[in-house]
């Protein structure tokens, strides 16, 4: 009897659980309806074409297609991983990415904070609009302006430093390896700081005004308000952006590096993308490009997972 009732009990619990589960799913039908079509779209446009990754193990020729190109196993990867030039570009990519990331974040957040303190709405709008203008200029234009400013031949920066007596002869800024990463980082800051700050400004606008009032009542001054209200208010945005951007650590771009890249700075200027461009695309070697892409994807996903894990430990709620 007892046994029976136990069995019966567990059964009811199980059915109850199942029922509950079914009920839960039923309740969430609208959510599934909302998300499944988008998942299908994503599958079609992102996952399905990944079958093309097979190219990485071939000596792919566009004319021959997947079916008739020769399989070469891991040759493309071996070529890449055994090539000291590849690892040099790897180092450059990581270096420039980290600098871009750090400066990009610090300047965008700092700028958003300062902008937030402006009381005149008109002035604020003017500053904000002005700040995002450079985003719409192509790198060709921006690099050309920067290289004019850095010129040893009547360039603004050299003139300024000479005028101040800080240097006694013009510095060839773009020809010295030690300056290169800095120039790239600050070019990015110049071009993108306003654009990148938009999201923080949007996030700040959602901070509850009551929190500021409360802080004021507690005797908090402006800096305390920034530190204790504004920054925590945009922290989720910062964390999410940071984690997502960490995944792109291997994408330092190639345009600036390409436009500023000269023989003199070649050792520090070339990124993985330029490497792929040089040994892959321009030589028509799509397989190498694909192999590099796979390598980047693996690293990216690992980076995102790790940073997400860490942020979960620190923040007690991981992002993904």
């Amino acid at each position: 009897m007892e046994q029976k009732s136990v069995v019966l009990q567990t059964k009811t619990i199980q059915t109850n659980k199942r029922l509950k589960r079914v009920k839960e799913y039923k309740q969430q039908i609208p959510l599934f309806i909302m998300v499944i079509p988008c998942m299908i779209l994503t599958f079609i446009f992102c996952y399905y074409p990944l079958s093309g990754w097979i190219m990485a193990f071939q000596n792919f020729r566009p004319a021959k297609g997947y079916w008739h190109s020769k399989f070469v196993g891991f040759d493309q990867f071996t070529f890449m991983f055994n090539d000291p030039v590849f690892w040099r570009t790897f180092k450059n990519t990581i270096g420039m990415s980290i600098m871009n990331l750090v400066f990009g974040f610090v300047f965008a957040i700092g700028f958003a904070l300062l902008l937030n303190e402006i009381r005149s709405i008109g002035f604020k709008r003017v500053v904000q609009t002005a700040s995002y203008l450079p985003h719409f200029l192509s790198w060709v234009i921006v690099c050309s302006l920067i290289s004019n400013i850095l010129s040893t031949y009547d360039g603004t920066l050299n003139n300024l430093l000479m005028g101040l007596g800080l240097i006694d002869k013009p510095v060839l800024w773009l020809g010295e390896q030690k300056y290169f990463w800095w120039i790239v980082a600050f070019s990015h800051v110049w071009k993108e700081v306003g654009w990148n700050s938009i999201i923080y400004i949007a996030a700040m606008s959602s901070i509850d005004t009551e929190l500021y009032e409360a802080c004021e009542i507690d005797g908090g001054n402006r800096y305390r308000k920034m530190w204790h209200v504004t920054l925590p208010g945009i922290r989720p945005t910062i964390v999410v952006l940071l984690i997502m951007n960490l995944g792109w650590l291997l994408n330092a771009g190639f345009e600036v590096q390409y436009l500023f890249g000269r023989g003199l700075v070649m050792d520090v200027s070339e990124t993985i993308d330029i490497y792929v461009l040089k040994y892959g695309i321009t030589l028509g070697n799509y397989s190498l490009g694909t192999a590099a892409g796979i390598f980047k994807s693996v690293i990216s996903i690992a980076l995102v997972s790790i940073s997400n894990y860490i942020s979960g430990k620190l923040d007690e709620n991981s992002v993904f």
Binding site: Q28, I44, R119, T129, L137, M204, V240, K296
Partner: protein
């Protein structure tokens, strides 16, 4: 009393200093940020040959409208502009809606597949099949030389979804609870409660979608370049630009004797400037329009009230 008076006085002085310094910084930002754009406008209005000599900074040296005449003397400009505007509108409206929709679902803690779906989307940000597999895909889907190649592939933007989602997560939970108590379903909650609260982030996403759609030319180049009726403004601009780079020095025609002096009034530098202005001014006008959604605290307060 005395103390607090001092404090107020002190904070007033401090406040004054802060605002002065901040204003100076912001003025400097304006100058530094406007300069490249201003310089581009100046170059676009300067005689192309004169620009070659360099040294154009704040004002045109030899004023000329010829660069713009060249830009506007294009049969396909109107077609391109129409396509660019429609694709921008469509991509923005659909893109914002989808980001909000998926963002909403992923922000619901009770959603059963939350972790899986989030990761399912997230991974796509870091993988790319590459040019040729994507071309095969578009071909299979019959999207080559098809207008929808401008809309469909970029419809689901994971980056935007995540941004919207984390914004929604930061909204007070009471908002949602209130709506459920009212007996509202997910659809009603999403449309009536959540969307209005998300104006700032949706405005941001709209800006990203619009600028992205407006600026893209690569899809025209790869998927639709052989059909003139599908051209876009940016593609026409790229054409102009690359043709100006070629003028005078035709690589193929660099025969021994064919070096007539060229008196062209167009050069790549000037063309680049005019093209940049023509291509970016329409989209720049979008921003001030969206800015009003960034005003501090309005939305949440309103809903709460």
């Amino acid at each position: 009393m005395k103390n607090s008076g001092l404090a107020t006085k002190g904070s007033k002085i401090e406040s004054f200093i802060f605002y002065t310094i901040n204003t100076i910084i912001m003025l400097a930002v304006i100058v530094v940020m406007i300069y490249p754009f201003w310089n581009t406008i100046v170059v676009s209005f300067n005689n192309a040959k004169d620009t070659l000599l360099g040294g154009i900074t704040f004002f045109p040296r030899v004023f000329s409208l010829y660069n713009y005449q060249t830009v506007f003397k294009n049969d396909l400009l109107v077609t391109g502009a129409v396509n660019s505007v429609t694709r921008t509108l469509l991509s923005t409206v659909l893109g914002v809606f989808i980001s909000a929709l998926v963002g909403y679902v992923l922000s619901r803690p009770e959603f059963l597949w939350r972790k899986f779906v989030t990761r399912y989307f997230l991974v796509t940000m870091y993988i790319s099949a590459g040019l040729i597999p994507n071309y095969f895909l578009m071909k299979d889907l019959n999207l080559i030389n098809n207008y929808f190649v401008y809309i469909l592939p970029g419809l689901v933007s994971v980056f935007n979804i995540i941004i919207v989602r984390s914004y929604m997560q930061s909204l007070p939970a009471s908002l949602f609870e209130a709506s459920y108590i009212d007996g509202a379903g997910h659809f009603r909650c999403f449309i009536q409660i959540i969307l209005p609260c998300c104006k700032p982030v949706l405005a941001t996403v709209a800006l990203w979608c619009a600028v992205g759609a407006w600026n893209s030319w690569f899809d025209t180049f790869i998927y639709a370049s052989s059909k003139e009726s599908l051209t876009t403004l940016q593609y026409e601009m790229m054409k102009l630009l690359s043709s100006s780079m070629n003028s005078g020095a035709n690589q193929s025609a660099s025969s021994i004797y064919g070096n007539r002096p060229v008196t062209d009034s167009v050069t790549p530098v000037s063309m680049q400037a005019a093209v940049t202005v023509v291509a970016s001014v329409p989209i720049l006008l979008v921003y001030p329009f969206l800015q009003k959604y960034f005003v501090k605290g309005v939305t949440i307060g309103a809903v709460k009230g």
